[in-house]
């Protein structure tokens, strides 16, 4: 198994060694993962729907136990998890402030500088003016900022974002990506961003984890932007074109066997 909580011995915050993980007793969703996350790094995780991206980050954060291999996480590491916003609770009228405040709840004790952290997180994410509004009344982009602010309150060593720009228009997407870049520059936290949008991932990260049919491959950013590599990883022929916000987008070649 093993999710270790220990010193990793190097500057690594987390080290995965031959990790396999999945749900129940079925075939593992990801297997044989070797990977290390170091302080301040920015990684993108891409792959087709259902390829195992979310399984990988859940294993890293200790939400899933590896069925094989070892996941060693530095003892004092703090994860700031930004889940997919469509899973956000909207029956009860939680305000922005109440939702963000949940981020300061820790296992052992509450941070003493609560108000500072809250104020900084709201300020960084541009939520000060709407801090007393119910979250359920906000736009998709504002809800995403709330989740990011909640993660920031804990002053995370690693910011983990699961599809943060899904279903956003170009302006909203660029605002969120700009915010993530700014947070990383200001706080020095490592960033791990899961997305099926190549251009979004490339804008944030220097290195990529490409998840394909349960296997995980690491690539430097520039190395990954190659249509043959991406075609093999997505399992269909793709091409790379200039995309929104000056980035790149990966598109299926018409008649090539599917869409991305």
């Amino acid at each position: 198994m093993n999710v270790g909580s220990t010193s990793t011995g190097t500057d690594a915050l987390a080290v995965l060694t031959r990790v396999s993980a999945g749900y129940g007793r079925n075939v593992p969703v990801v297997s044989g993962v070797d990977w290390a996350l170091r302080r301040g790094e920015a990684w993108g995780v891409i792959g087709a729907n259902g390829s195992g991206k979310t399984t990988l980050i859940r294993t890293l954060m200790g939400l899933l136990k590896p069925s094989e291999g070892e996941c060693r996480v530095h003892r004092n590491i703090r994860f700031g998890y930004v889940k997919q916003r469509d899973g956000l609770h909207d029956l009860f009228p939680f305000t922005v402030r109440e939702m963000v405040d949940m981020g300061r709840m820790r296992g052992r004790r509450l941070p003493s500088d609560r108000d500072d952290r809250m104020g900084q997180a709201l300020e960084t994410t541009g939520l000060v003016g709407i801090a007393d509004m119910p979250v359920r009344e906000l736009s998709g982009g504002q809800k995403q900022r709330v989740l990011i602010a909640r993660a920031l309150v804990s002053r995370p060593d690693v910011l983990v974002l699961d599809e943060p720009t899904n279903d956003m228009d170009v302006a909203g997407e660029q605002a969120i990506l700009g915010l993530i870049t700014r947070i990383r520059a200001e706080t020095g936290c490592a960033v791990l961003m899961v997305s099926h949008l190549l251009h979004a991932v490339l804008q944030i990260s220097e290195q990529l984890l490409i998840v394909h049919e349960g296997t995980v491959h690491t690539h430097a950013r520039d190395e990954a932007v190659h249509k043959d590599l991406l075609s093999s990883r997505y399992g269909i022929p793709v091409t790379i074109r200039p995309g929104s916000g000056g980035g790149l987008s990966v598109e299926a070649i018409p008649g090539g066997g599917g869409g991305v």
Binding site: R78, L91, F92, T95, M102, G107, R150, V160
Partner: protein, 262 residues
Amino acid sequence: MSLFTDPFLWTALSVGVLGAVLCTLAGRFVLMRGMTFVSIALAEAAAAGAALGMLIHMPPDIAAIVAVLGAIILFRHRGRAGDGAIGILYAGAAAVTLMIISLHPRLEASGVDLLAGNLLYSTVRDGWFMAGAFAVIAPVHILYRKAFLFTAIDPDTARTQGLPARVWEVLLMVTIGLSIAVTIKLAGVLYVFAAMIIPVMAALRMANRVRSVTLVSLVVSVGGVLAGFSASVEWNLPTSPAVILAWCSVYLIARIVSRRSA
């Protein structure tokens, strides 16, 4: 007969109010967690436990608590059966209750109605038992509300922050189960289920803050008990259905008013 002068009515009213408040406090988390179906299955399990307890001469309150805790363990290990397991428990427990009562008419003759409830049969001992249960469970729900809220709406994120979310989840389930179990013998399945869901749903129509939802739901809960009891005494109506209809009326009014103001 007057609600405010007869001592036995005071006992019944106290049991009704304390049971309703306990169930409404638990109901917030039931709705947050999306466990409405689980809550009625737990109520049926408690009723089956109480019926079985009376059959074997065991205190029905204790038997209901044992049955609910057993059901909670079953839910946590239901694996692939998912909601199907909850449905089986619900139907099976209801069948056990009906079977025991139909085969042993003395239970029915003693005034026990585990489906519709019969609060007017509350004894002073029932009142003290309910007060003791209230003194234990309600402070837990109030003191640990933030941890319960977080683990109810987003257990994964709570765990990534180092919160023992599974421990909180189990504690929450146990306190919800206990709230149901201690109320079921006198109030019945319908009353318990309604007290968990309807006052909170009505409050969600009237309040725009989570804290206000809690306060308003408790006001609706207690107000519904008082109104239902008064109607029951005044017009000789069955008590639990009268209280439930009072809650439903408040919900419908809140729904109409909130739609118009929107």
